[in-house]
Symmetry: C2
Subunit: 193 residues, 2 copies
DNA sequence: TTTATGCCTGAACGCTTGTTCATGTGAACT
DNA sequence: AGTTCACATGAACAAGCGTTCAGGCATAAA
C-alpha cells in the first residue's frame, strides 16, 4: 500500500480528520484514530501536518472559508434589502444544517484559545455583510433608522443560536422564512391583521 | 490541616471546580489541578464525587438550576406580554453576562454526550417560558397570530446566540433593550417613522 | 484508654496520548 | 544497473491522565 500522491493523502487526511473531530471533539480525538480513518500510519500524519493543532487549524480554516464564501456569494447581487436579508438568513441556516460536521467540531471547541482568532475573523466578516444590507435598507427607506452595528449583532445572534441548536437540539429548529419574518416585521400586531 | 466539615469541603470543591473547568474545559481540566484549587488532596475529591464526570455533572446541574430559577422568577408576575418578553430577555442576557463562568464551561463542552440531556431539559424549560408569554400576547391581541413554538425557538435562539458571543466575542454584545425592540417591532419601517 | 468514625492523604498503578525516528519501499531518472 | 527522492511505516518514548488504596489523624463514644 505504498506510493500514493502526497496531495491526495493530505486531502484524505483532512476529510477523515473532519469526521473524527466531529465525532469526538478536538481534545478527545487522537492521532491514532485519525490515522486509521485516513488509511495512513501515525507517522504519515506528521509528514503533512506539523502536529495535531496544525491539522485542526488547517482543517477549520479551509472549511470556514467555504462557508463564508457561499453565504457571501448568495447576497451580492440582491438589491431589495429585505429580500437580501431573507436570503442571507436562509443561506446561513441551510448551509449550517447541511454541514453539521463543521458545526459539531466548532461547537465542541468554542473556548479554545487557538482557533479563536480565526473564528472571530469569520464572525466579523459575516456580521459585516449583514451591516451592509441594513445600511442599504435604511438608505432606501425600507428599514427603520436603527443602530446598524447593534442590529446586525442581534440578527447574527439568531443565526449563531440556530447553529448552536443544531448541536444541542436538532429536532427543534425553525424555518428561515419564519425567522426573516419575525426580524423584518416584529411580533407586535399593527392596525388590522 | 485535618478535620473539616464534609459539607464545606464539598462546596469548596464545587466552587473551585467551576473555576478550573471554566478556564480549561472539561477534557483539559485535571483532577490534580482541581484538588489543588480546592485545597484538598486528590484522593479527597473521590470522597465526595464518584469520578470526574460525576463532579462535572453535579456542578452543572446545580448551576443551571440557579440560572433557570432566576429567569423564571423574573417574569412570573408580569401581565403585559411585551413587557414580560422584554424582561425575560433582559434577565437572560444580564445573567449570562454576569455568570460568564457557567457559559464558558458549557461553551466548551457542547457536544459531549453526557450532560446533553441535562442541557436539553434546561433549554426546553426556558423555551416553554417564552411560549407562554407569546401565547398570552396572542390571546390578549397584543401579538400577531404567529406560530407559538417556532417563534419561541427563534427568540430563544437570539438569547443562545448572545450567550455564545460572550465566549467568542465579549466585545461585540448588544443591549437587551435593542434586542427586545427588534423582536417586538421588526426592522421594516411603517407609516411615518 | 481503647475503639469507632469521619475526614483526609499522596505514592503508585495502569492506561492513553502526541510525537519522534530509524527504517522501508517503489517509481523516476541517470 | 544504480541512485535518488518522495512517500510511508509503527515501535518506542516521555509525559500526562483518572483512579485506587493502604494508611494517618482528630474527634466522639465506650
Amino acid at each position: 500500500m505504498n506510493k500514493r500522491s502526497g496531495i491526495k493523502s493530505k486531502k484524505r487526511i483532512l476529510d477523515a480528520a473532519m469526521k473524527v473531530f466531529a465525532e469526538y471533539g478536538y481534545a478527545k480525538a487522537n492521532m491514532r484514530v485519525i490515522a486509521k480513518a485516513s488509511d495512513i500510519s501515525i507517522g504519515g500524519l506528521y509528514l503533512y501536518f506539523k502536529n495535531k493543532e496544525d491539522l485542526y487549524l488547517t482543517l477549520m480554516k479551509s472549511r470556514m472559508g467555504d462557508f463564508a464564501g457561499k453565504t457571501m456569494e448568495s447576497v451580492k447581487d440582491i438589491n431589495d434589502p429585505a429580500k437580501a436579508l431573507g436570503i442571507f438568513i436562509a443561506m446561513s441556516l441551510n448551509y449550517a444544517k447541511k454541514h453539521k460536521e463543521l458545526i459539531l467540531v466548532q461547537g465542541r471547541e468554542h473556548g479554545f484559545a487557538f482557533g479563536l482568532e480565526m473564528k472571530r475573523k469569520f464572525f466579523r466578516k459575516q456580521r459585516g455583510l449583514i451591516e451592509n444590507i441594513i445600511r442599504q435598507g435604511i438608505q432606501s427607506g425600507t428599514f427603520k433608522k436603527v443602530d446598524v452595528q447593534k442590529t446586525a449583532r442581534i440578527i447574527f445572534s439568531v443565526i449563531r443560536g440556530f447553529v448552536l441548536s443544531i448541536v444541542v437540539e436538532p429536532d427543534s429548529l425553525f424555518s428561515p422564512e419564519e425567522c426573516s419574518n419575525l426580524i423584518l416585521n416584529g411580533l407586535i400586531r399593527r392596525n388590522n391583521k
